[in-house]
Amino acid sequence: MLHAKIIDAIKEKVDIANAQKFITSRKYGASIYFVGTVRDQNNDKKVTGITYDSHDALVIKSFEEIYKEAETKFKFKNIAVYIEHIKGYVELGETSIIIAVACKHRAQAYEFSRYVIEEIKKRTPIWKKEHYEGEDSKWLKGNPLIDQNQSK
């Protein structure tokens, strides 16, 4: 069971209470919440906030693919997964992503959760623009989704 959504920062926030409602069940003995938040430093620069950009349709497709792959890889049955990622401007300390996983046992929950966040980092089309003190800002370098030899 999967919930996958992009949250527009202008209209909503990523809320752990909603994740809890989705994954809570007497069927599950273990729940893991991974919460990513905006921190105040990166590469020795003082960060004041981050703007997230997203290709919404590809992001949802990617979340669904990662979920299905993880189900196949780990062969867990009866698992609840809640993934939300923000887009738009996010202030320090605010939540950018939540991945909540509930299943029978703790080892499964840890494995599944770790797999989902690492795969999102590798291949989900979300971009970060960091804002710094002094009104400077910069898009962060990321992972290319293509073999760059083909684009020469």
Partner: protein
């Protein structure tokens, strides 16, 4: 054939709008589109090296929301997304 290139991530710096438009020949490929974008960078940003690297390292997304290779033939007018290197979470 008119192609609307939807901008994401760092490629948003290419325009104040969230897209660029290109006129491509019939049966053009993603490789041709990439070439047109590099020409755009050459002409509008004095060949900015960082922008050129960005274009060369970007993937492209079809209207059907599939990541497509440089060989992909664009057979109709459509929106195509440029997908620069990603890094969310």
């Amino acid at each position: 054939m008119k192609i609307k290139l939807e901008l994401f991530g760092a490629s948003r710096d290419f325009s104040k709008k969230d897209y660029l438009e290109f006129n491509l020949k019939e049966k053009s490929s993603i490789k041709d589109l990439r070439h047109e974008i590099l020409n755009f960078v050459e002409n509008n940003f004095k060949g900015n090296d960082n922008y050129k690297k960005l274009v060369k390292s970007s993937a492209f997304c079809s209207e059907e929301n599939n990541i497509v290779s440089d060989d992909y033939k664009i057979i109709k007018e459509q929106n195509i997304g440029i997908i620069p290197p990603i890094g969310g979470g």
